[in-house]
């Protein structure tokens, strides 16, 4: 795909973007709003992919439903746009059946922590060999801005115009407690750190989880004091604190002007991955023949 760019007022035609081979450029422009952070996550993932030593056909990307869910349709990879909340079990099935695949789930907070929250904790508990990137925009963006399990207390959305009365999940804390091998949080402003975290996730054996806080100007932003494209990014720049060793019980996210946002690569530990456990189990039981005559 060719896109016009300017060079000192002179229009030039760029015939190729460096990431074009990994993108279904014919499907552009994408559906995301100006100022949305999802495209940044897509680019970070693609950047990490280009550095990966795994052949592309061994990389798969699975998404759920919602704005982030659309990522699957823009990637020039084998991708799967699953149902709402079910991206993680889909990925589990794929990773267990084909352990040589590098399986990524990229989906929104509604998908991963709300309607699919049960699957999130169970995949972390099993330490399944998948990588989950949760783009957290604090609400359901695709349906126009309703509150979910990550909406901060008192935040306003179309279904909590009075201010949200429910406490949100502190997702890194939850996923860490459930047993994930790798847990990180960055924002859409931290492009380099996000890309590096994704690369690290590719190396991790077991469940790797990355939360990327993302602006959503027309819905969450509009309702909560960040209506313009750059407002939330400015907030991320001013209020983010990098603390890799943070006590995760204290890293809940709120978006008030004075709230700190703790980011970092919080957990990077060795736990037996689900694939290792299953391989070991098979080694133990595999000596037996699979013949039906045997009890």
């Amino acid at each position: 795909m060719s896109r016009p760019v300017t060079d000192g007022g002179r229009e030039m035609i760029a015939t190729k973007h460096p990431l074009d081979p990994m993108i279904r450029a014919e499907r552009l422009p994408n559906i995301w709003c100006p100022g949305c952070g999802i495209g940044i996550v897509l680019a970070a993932y693609v950047n990490a992919l280009t550095k990966s030593t795994k052949p592309h056909e061994k990389n798969v990307c699975i998404s759920g439903i919602g704005c982030t869910g659309r990522i699957a349709g823009y990637l020039n990879l084998d991708t799967y746009h699953t149902t709402h909340g079910r991206a993680i079990p889909f990925a589990t099935g794929m990773a267990v059946a084909k352990p040589d695949l590098e399986v990524f789930v990229i989906a929104g907070d509604g998908d991963i922590s709300t309607i699919g929250g049960n699957h999130l904790i169970h995949a972390a508990r099993r330490n399944v060999d998948i990588n989950v990137i949760m783009v957290n925009n604090f609400n359901y963006g695709m349906t126009g801005g309703q509150h979910g399990a990550t909406t901060p207390l008192n935040a306003r959305t179309h279904t909590s115009p009075y201010g949200n009365v429910e406490s949100p999940f502190n997702v890194p804390y939850l996923v860490s407690a459930a047993g994930a091998s790798f847990v990180a949080r960055w924002t859409a402003l931290h492009v380099i750190q996000v890309t590096k975290a994704i690369k690290r996730m590719m190396e991790i054996k077991g469940f790797a989880f990355l939360e990327v806080l993302s602006p959503c100007p027309p819905t969450y932003g509009e309702y909560n004091g960040y209506p313009a494209a750059l407002d939330m990014m400015k907030h991320f720049r001013e209020r983010s604190v990098v603390d890799n060793g943070a006590d995760l019980s204290t890293v809940s996210v709120a978006t008030g002007a004075d709230d700190r946002i703790v980011v970092g690569n919080f957990v990077d530990r060795k736990r037996p991955s689900y694939d290792e456990l299953l391989t070991e189990l098979q080694a133990r039981t595999g000596k037996k023949s699979g013949a039906l005559t045997e009890a």
Binding site: I65, H84, T114, Q146, G148, H158, T159, S160
Partner: protein
């Protein structure tokens, strides 16, 4: 009070004037506007209900059923994948005899994902025990919510009701809707009191949904549910008469128009009924003896009423917006069964599938259906399988896709 309302706001108004106590919500396109409207009214104090946005439709339905058993008047709504995700709970809610109202905004199911209308979602719930009512327009959405509570809460019924409206066609279309006054609604729909509420202090403790390993007990409860559902036909009739007296709008389980002298009858449900009506009128103007039947109540299935109105015609064309793989159309066999036991029945009963994903239904489709009925009548033979309706430009693309995949290039689903 008359207002221009979308189908979604009309559903929300239905809940508001029914004075619901509890709204169980989860967003999904094209339904979300209903729960947003209700939560904004809760915010303004215009609706004194508790509003909870759940983590999924499955939990939303579970909570809705439980609340309804405590004696609260409960409203909930969903669409497509969300409805199906909660399907397990729908069977339970019906089994608990929890008289809530659920509005479904119909949208296609499964892959590929689509946001526009198809009736596979609501029809998948047809055997759950829910009473099922289908709305043609925004006014009917509101009316059927009121009628829904009236029937559901009747002590001879005590069953949940699903009111269906078409996604986009109704959900986002504005039409004039007459919103009844609160006093009139109170007369029609007095405060709900559950005859034996869960947690009712005066009543002895009760257990809902215990296990039985006795087939007799299981079949007894299922049969009781079936009888209650059948009973709701009478209750609907009486409620509809009362509704007419108070609000001056008529509702019937089966609505026949221009059928007295009709040789050909088109049968339809939901919002495309308006298109069929316009088509039938045009065909009438050209001298064709055509009529239409709108099926407003899908469950319980109004067999006798249908048999009576359809049996006089020479040919009946059943138009449906669903495609059940391995079956064809879902409602058609039920119509065939309704007619099978009639002394007199049409010589021709054809099945047409169209409007999937919101594809149009207009004069070309009406003329095509009529032509097929006439051909069959004349020659004595015709398609035994459903015919797919396509506009010529869609049909060209469809033919191209069919030939590319090696499937037979035919409108007949065979």
């Amino acid at each position: 009070m008359k207002k221009m309302l979308t189908g979604n706001s009309s559903a929300a108004w239905g809940a508001r004037i029914s004075d619901v106590d509890y709204v169980c919500a989860y967003p999904i396109t094209p339904q979300t506007e209903i729960v947003e409207t209700l939560s904004s009214w809760v915010n303004k104090g215009a609706l004194k209900a508790r509003f909870v946005n759940f983590e999924s439709e499955h939990s939303m339905f579970a909570a809705a059923g439980a609340a309804s058993l405590t004696g609260a008047r409960v409203f909930t709504c969903s669409s497509s994948q969300g409805l199906i995700y909660g399907l397990e709970m729908l069977y339970s809610i019906a089994g608990w005899r929890a008289p809530l109202v659920l509005v479904n905004v119909s949208r296609g199911l499964g892959m590929p994902m689509i946001l526009q209308v198809e009736h596979g979602d609501v029809l998948a719930t047809r055997d759950s025990g829910f009473i099922q009512l289908h709305a043609e327009n925004c006014q009917e959405v509101l009316d059927l919510v009121l009628l829904g509570y009236k029937i559901a809460e009747d002590s001879n019924v005590m069953l949940p009701v699903v009111v269906n409206m078409d996604g986009f066609v109704l959900s986002f279309a504005r039409q004039t809707v007459d919103i009844p006054q609160r006093e009139a609604v109170e007369k029609f729909l007095p405060r709900y009191s559950h005859p034996r509420p869960l947690l009712g202090l005066e009543s002895a403790p009760v257990t809902y949904g215990p296990t039985t390993s006795d087939g007799f007990v299981y079949s007894f409860y299922k049969y009781q549910l079936h009888k209650a559902s059948l009973e709701s036909r009478k209750v609907f009739q009486t409620a509809a008469q009362e509704f007419f007296k108070i609000f001056s709008r008529r509702h019937h389980a089966v609505e026949a128009e221009m059928t007295e002298d009709a040789d050909y009858i088109f049968l339809v449900t939901n919002s495309y009924s308006s298109n069929v009506r316009a088509g039938v009128r045009s065909l009438r103007a050209k001298g064709e003896k055509v009529g239409m039947v709108k099926l407003k109540m899908l469950r319980p299935f109004p067999r006798e009423e249908l048999a009576e109105v359809l049996s006089q015609a020479k040919a009946v064309a059943v138009f449906e917006q669903n495609l059940a793989p391995g079956r064809g159309a879902i409602i058609y066999p039920e119509i065939a069964e309704a007619l099978y036991h009639s002394q007199e029945r049409p010589d021709v009963l054809l099945s047409f599938i169209g409007g999937l994903g919101g594809t149009p239904l207009g004069m070309p489709e009406m003329e095509y259906m009529l032509k097929k009925c006439k051909e069959f009548l004349k020659t004595g033979h015709g398609p035994e399988q459903p015919l797919l309706l396509y506009r010529s430009e869609d049909w060209e693309s469809m033919k191209h896709s069919l030939s590319k995949t090696g499937l037979p290039v035919s409108r007949e689903v065979s």
